[in-house]
C-alpha cells in the first residue's frame, strides 16, 4: 500500500541529488556521493558504493520541525536510489554526543519499518582511543545485489575482527 510522501526532484550527475520542499517550506537536499576511496578503485563494485547526506537550504531552520511526511519521503528516495541493484551505502551513526544508542535504535526501527525484506544492513563498531568514542558503521545493500558477497566481504575485511562491545 503506497505511503503518503512529498514529491521530489532528482538530478542525476556523479553526485545523485534529490530535492523536496515541505508544507512548512523547509527545503531538503539528499545527496549520494561515491566513496571510491574506501575500497579502492581497482574493483568494479567500488563505483557503486556511496555515502549519503541530508542537507537543509540556508534559509531553513537549523533544526527542522517534525513533519510526518519527511521520513516516508526519505524512504521513497532511498528506494529510488537503490533501483540500480548494484548500489550500496555506507552509513555511520554519530557517537560524539553519547546519544548513539537511542539514535541507532531510531534509525534501525525506521529502516526496518520501510524494509520489505529487499535490503540488509550490516553493522560493525570500532573504538577510537584517540577521539575517545566508538563508531557504529553500517553497510546497507540490496539482498539481490550481484556483488553482495564481494562488498560484504570487503566491509568485514575493513571493519571485521575489530568490533568492540556496544
Amino acid at each position: 500500500m503506497p505511503v503518503a510522501h512529498y514529491d521530489y526532484d532528482f538530478i542525476d550527475e556523479s553526485i545523485k541529488s534529490y530535492f523536496f520542499k515541505t508544507n512548512a517550506h523547509v527545503f531538503y537536499r539528499i545527496e549520494f556521493k561515491p566513496t571510491g576511496y574506501i575500497f579502492g578503485e581497482d574493483v568494479i563494485w567500488s563505483n557503486y558504493c556511496y555515502e549519503f547526506s541530508i542537507k537543509l537550504s540556508a534559509n531553513s531552520p537549523k533544526t527542522p520541525p517534525f513533519d510526518s511526511l519527511v521520513a516516508p519521503t526519505i524512504a521513497v528516495i532511498f528506494i529510488d536510489f537503490f533501483r540500480e541493484k548494484e548500489k550500496a551505502i555506507l552509513y555511520t551513526c554519530d557517537t560524539s554526543d553519547r546519544r548513539h544508542t537511542a539514535r541507532m535504535n531510531k534509525f534501525n526501527r525506521w529502516f526496518e519499518h520501510f524494509n520489505q525484506g529487499d535490503f540488509c544492513k550490516i553493522d560493525a563498531s570500532i573504538a577510537d582511543p584517540i577521539q575517545n568514542v566508538y563508531y557504529i558503521n553500517s553497510l546497507i545493500i540490496r539482498e539481490d545485489n550481484p556483488y553482495k558477497e564481494e562488498i560484504t566481504d570487503a566491509f568485514d575485511e575493513l571493519m571485521g575482527g575489530l568490533e568492540e562491545e556496544k
Binding site: D67, T92, I126, L162
Partner: protein, 51 residues
Amino acid sequence: METKKTSTKADRREKALQVSRRLADHYKETNRILDAVLPDLPQNSTKKSVS
C-alpha cells in the same frame, strides 16, 4: 612472522579508524537532521510498503 601479523592487524585497524573518522565527520550533520525528522516508531511497528 609474529611481528608481521601484529603489524598487519595494526595497519587494518588504522585504516578502519581513518575511514570511520571520515564517515563520522561526514554524517554529523545528517545525523542531527535525522534525529529531528525520524519518528519514534515502536519496536515491532507494522511495516508499510512504499512501492
